[in-house]
Amino acid sequence: MERRTLFQGWKLPVALVLPQLLLTFVFFLWPAGQAVWYSMTQQDPFGLGSVFVGLSNFRELFADPLYVHTILRTLVFCFAVSALAMTVALALALVANRELRGRAIYRTLLIWPYAVAPAMAAILWLFMLDPEIGLLGHPLVKAGLPWDYHVSGLDAQFLVVLASSWKQISYNFIFFLAGLQSIPQSVIEAARMDGARGWRRLRTIILPLLSPTMFFLLVVNLVYAAFDTFGTIWALTEGGPGKATETLVIKVYRDGMINQDIGGSSAQSVVLMLGVIAITAVQFRFMGRRTKT
């Protein structure tokens, strides 16, 4: 069924839409347009001179093997964070969905990390896992575990994935729990009567019914890992050691804010923007199809 409200004339509709359009223009179109323009210029930081250089910033970017490595690293990072955050959240949601004593407390506690600011989350992990001053890290190192994220790239990657996923688990948990609760009890009971238990019931009944939630969460998690982990990574490793934990957003920040390479950094922003547009387009397509069926 289609609902339609008809307005007389055009002034009122325009007036109603205008604030939204203005916001979109000022906070999205204008800066985005500026970034696109800057990405095709070469300029000194102070903006005293600016030369149009066409696509040469982009050519330089993709000719740089370090940038290509950063793209691949970011992809691996995003999928690692999403996989870890979603698996753990699902496991927790499955447990929380059962009849448990003190279930409300358990659920509330699980939601807390979402409220922790990214940089603070990083500091918490640092206090736990730092090889010299960490509550957990120091004893482990003393016990002979070769753990040092200041030097080992792998250790650093492990750490940022861990800290970033931890922040996102709460969010996923809420959605998984809601998803689980929306599965009709009758379906579960029917499966039970057919003798499907444990893993089999999870695999054949629950997971397929959860798949819309999972797909939605996957997209959200990928975007989270790509963009919202900046604070965590920056506070933990600043992208190092070497370039082991440098994601695209870290590189944009470093090149733009610290290195004052306006053209190059804007070109990276434009690449990121295209990435976001692609993800959003894919999501609309799939989500749209799902709601139709």
Partner: protein
């Protein structure tokens, strides 16, 4: 979801594209307002505020308002953005590695000599400690940035650890071979958790190291003679030092504990036997360290130089910024404020309160006279290290664009070498190659 994605995207864009619009109080009748953007926190901010209050009380023509703008990179970014919007503050505190970029900023800044000439306020380079003014000056000696908060690198060590290791706590190692031997003794006797660490790896182990040994960090006299400078940290002397650090890391006598000031807590917590760090750590150590610590000169390699030269500074300088419609009175106020900071009692106040070195010779003399060094033995060591020898073209400082990025590159390549991915020579060759690309990009951008 859609909004979230868009916001995330635009946030990333905004990070680079949207100028932070700075607001500066509108002109009003009465004293001329001078705005100073700085990066000082806690005790440092209090001391700066005190100086401004004193200046405001000492005369009626100008009022200086200090505004905290975040860390050093934030102040620089904000200043640049504000300039682009025609709203630059009168004075910006810019860290030493931003000097190259500031000097390339052309009409955005008014260099100190120019400011002095136009306003008639005397700001004589001869009053300033040579290695301090050299860093912020032009090749011919004229001053560009106004030296303000300067520190240098020193070697801190734990007297407790030295005693435990059977070393003389009153006789710290002076050369690198002695440092290596001391670190070994500390490790053998288990006298400290970590025998040796370094903060600011690039600043201390490369930039200071080059100055001390009178070897070029970059061509064109470390960049002073032109924008065409190329990095030269892959020289034999540099590679030898990197190899030494790699060897020490392998045998467990040196521990790489991160970039910038990340290793600081290890020093203050007394975990390290020897710690290379800024002379500005004195305040923290006095306040929080629960062990007996000592301060020593940076070690040198006797195979490269017989008597080491002066070390170079770190910290920041004050820059006079331009803006459309800025009046002569405003520039005069900036110059008067600079002159005020250089008065011996003010310079000595700043030095004694904060732990930065005095930037003027008179400020140093004043601190000697009032007994500050008697009450705080060793507090003059950084000044002596800055003052020793004579400043050469390789010990004057660095004049390279995008130096923060170059520091980062050097540290990245060093880290990869420490991971065993490459040897010392390859690491430094890579660092030079990557840095030269950055230097060329800077050169192109400036000429644009």
């Amino acid at each position: 979801m859609k909004r979230r994605t868009l916001l995330a995207g635009s946030a990333a864009l905004a990070a680079t594209a949207t100028p932070l619009v700075a607001s500066i109080p509108a002109e009003a009748a009465g004293p001329t307002k001078i705005v100073l953007w700085h990066a000082m926190t806690a005790l440092l901010a209090d001391s700066l505020n005190t100086l401004c209050t004193r200046f405001n009380a000492a005369q009626t023509a100008y009022v200086v308002t200090p505004v905290y703008k975040g860390g050093y990179p934030d102040v620089m970014t904000a200043t640049i953005a504000a300039f682009r919007a025609g709203q630059a503050p009168h004075i910006a505190q810019i860290f030493e590695v931003g000097t190259g970029s500031m000097l390339a900023a052309g009409k955005a800044i008014k260099e100190v000599w120019q400011l002095s000439k136009e306003t008639g306020v005397k700001l004589d380079p001869k009053n300033y400690i040579p290695s301090v003014r050299g860093y912020y000056g032009l090749a011919d000696g004229r001053m560009a940035g106004m030296p303000f908060n300067s520190s240098t690198a020193v070697m801190w060590y734990s007297k407790d650890a030295f005693e435990k290791a059977g070393l003389d706590p009153e006789k710290p190692p002076a050369t690198w071979p002695e440092v290596v031997a001391a670190a070994r003794a500390i490790k053998e006797k288990n006298a400290a958790d970590i025998p040796m660490i370094t903060s600011w790896p690039s600043w201390i182990q490369f930039e200071q190291y080059s100055a001390l040994h009178n070897i070029p960090f970059a061509s064109e006299a470390d960049g002073f003679d032109g924008l065409g400078a190329k990095l030269e940290v892959n020289s034999k002397a540099h590679v030898k030092h990197v190899q030494r650090l790699l060897d020490m890391s392998k045998e467990g006598t040196f521990k790489y504990a991160g970039r910038d000031n990340i290793p600081d807590p290890l020093l203050v917590g007394g975990k390290a036997g020897i710690a290379f760090n800024s002379s500005g750590m004195r305040g923290d150590l006095t306040k929080s360290a629960k062990f007996k610590w000592g301060e020593a000169y940076l070690p040198y390699d006797p195979a490269i130089i017989k008597t080491p030269l002066n070390s170079i500074i770190g910290g920041a300088a004050l820059w006079s910024m331009t803006a459309p419609h800025r009046t002569e009175a405003e520039y005069k106020g900036v110059a008067e404020f600079f002159a005020f900071l250089a008065q011996p009692q003010n310079d000595a106040f700043w030095h004694q309160k904060t732990g930065y070195v005095p930037v003027t010779l008179a400020g140093f003399a004043e601190s000697q006279k009032d007994g500050f060094y008697k009450a705080n033995p060793g507090a003059d060591l950084p000044v002596k290290q800055l003052e020793r020898g004579h400043v050469t073209k390789y010990s004057r400082g660095l004049r390279l664009g995008r130096l923060p990025e170059i520091r980062n590159i050097i540290e990245e390549e060093l880290e990869k070498a420490l991971q065993g991915q490459q040897n010392a020579q390859t690491a430094m060759d890579n660092a030079v190659e990557r840095s030269n690309k950055v230097l060329r990009a800077f050169q192109r951008a400036v000429k644009a």
